[in-house]
Symmetry: none
Subunit: 309 residues, 2 copies
């Protein structure tokens, strides 16, 4: 009995399949890189309490952008162009390395949980109690999936896949039972969004095990070129939703909570970094005092001499 | 009698060994680069007194990211793909240069000691007294290890390894005897963490001499492909823990101490550095006092002189 589910390497891609995957990978790079920049440059739209959640969201998108740069370059090296523009792209001697995705997830999945807990702004004790459960369980889920992913053997794939499901179920328990207790204390304006975020998180994670099972599903489609394109499309779209769109939703929650907790703060109170990074912090709606402080922030020395005695 | 312990160059790597090392190096790059960015963008979450420790931690991670970019590219050049994706990767005419690691350590190890002393916020005299001992001793430790690392001769390796151990033992003495006197004056909330940091520092350094001894241990495993992969994995994981995780722990200590020393400061008081590092520290909700202090924080000298009497 052959346990070899499929060759993981697709021997060739049509010009259309190649272009589809290529464009998708580029879409992911653009989405991740510029969501990261948007979030970094928008930190000051939320109160300091929520900035850690925004910076972590930006870091997640930055890490994903880095990995998609590598995946993109690897893809080009693995499937170089043929004799003409219409030729199939034959697999070169460079393997298309799915392992990068696991490296990405190992870093980003725990961070996604950290940003979710951070935006809830729980007490230190509650946050810590959730994170010591969520972070190790999520890292374990990724680590246990890796040996299965790189194996071509169906049994090996199933065993590691099953092991990886155990921490996943534990994550579901923590997110849907333990975290729910804290949800009652969130402002009603954001409870729905946080619930949706939680659902999106685990819903999107569902894409990954489905792609993982493709070689086991077997058949010409799932183990061939069509399955490869579908898998890369699935991963790419799931990554955009689970990291970039997710990060923007976190930002939205932080904005709403900032406004509720500090009604004086609204879009009026944000300073705008200009191209060279100096803060242009003056704004018609501000008091003279605020404008002076903003100006002083650019030039620390000057500000220091103006401290009230 | 041959004193040649082993050829340092591994003639070939299997596709799996190659992929494992490749993914690990990429993991280190992502961890270091994004920890550096996170720390730089989160500086203002701590009081000015601790920002130097955070910036130095970020610089350590940045230096390590740079060296791992070089190591990654060197690895690709040394072990190019064979005829097919499953072929072994034969050593090319480009040597895999372990010397990079020593260059990295020569810069980062003294800086790790500097960030550890900085986060303790001792008096100037105490800090100086510790640093004039720790920094030269740590640089000497690395410099003395290098001639042994590049030698294939067992005696040479042992001699330089032993010489390198002398400053290491002196570092242990300074860290565990002299630094302990200052630990009594740290807030109880962070004493445990600082002790763990110190232990992590020297514990993780233990990985490096073990890898150094591989060629001396001899045997097919330690001098062959398996030993090579294990050594690269050990270095990579030790580097992530000793630099990125260590930097985040320093940040944690700085956050706790900032909160204890200035209870009015919590997540509430952070401003955000813009691209070139100028703080845009104004904020509608702040008191004039706080705003000026935030502005002054850009210029550490000024801030320190403005402490209320």
């Amino acid at each position: 009995m052959s346990l070899n589910a499929a060759s993981a390497d697709i021997p060739s891609l049509s010009a259309t399949s190649y272009a589809t995957v290529y464009n998708l990978f580029s879409l992911v790079i653009a989405s991740m890189l510029f969501t990261a920049l948007f979030l970094l440059f928008s930190q000051r739209q939320v109160t300091p309490r929520y900035r850690n959640a925004i910076v972590v969201s930006a870091i997640v998108c930055g890490i994903a952008a880095y990995h998609y740069f590598r995946i993109f370059n690897n893809f080009e090296a693995s499937y170089p162009p043929g004799a003409t523009v219409d030729s199939v792209h034959e697999l070169s001697n460079v393997r298309f390395n799915e392992g990068y995705r696991y490296v990405d997830w190992l870093l980003t999945v725990p961070l996604l949980l950290i940003e979710t807990v951070a935006v809830m702004a729980l007490t230190r004790g509650e946050s810590k109690s959730l994170l010591v459960k969520l972070v190790p369980a999520s890292a374990l889920m990724i680590v246990l999936g890796y040996p299965g992913e790189i194996s071509l053997d169906t049994s090996t794939r199933l065993i590691w896949g099953t092991l990886s499901t155990i921490p996943f179920l534990y994550l579901l328990y923590v997110l849907f039972v333990e975290l729910s207790k804290s949800l009652d204390r969130q402002p009603p304006e954001v409870v729905h969004t946080i619930k949706m975020l939680r659902l999106a998180l685990v819903g999107l994670w569902g894409v990954y095990p489905i792609a993982y099972l493709f070689p086991i599903l077997g058949g010409d489609f799932f183990t061939g070129e069509g399955g490869f394109v579908l898998k890369q499309a699935g991963y790419s779209i799931a990554d955009i939703l689970a990291k970039a769109a997710f990060g923007l939703a976190i930002y939205k929650v932080a904005r709403v909570k900032s406004r509720l907790e500090d009604p004086s703060r609204d879009e009026e109170h944000a300073a705008v970094p200009t191209v060279d990074g100096h803060a242009s912090g003056s704004n018609g709606a501000r008091s003279a005092d605020e404008r002076v402080a903003a100006a002083g922030a650019v030039n620390g020395r000057a500000a220091s001499s103006r401290r009230p005695a």
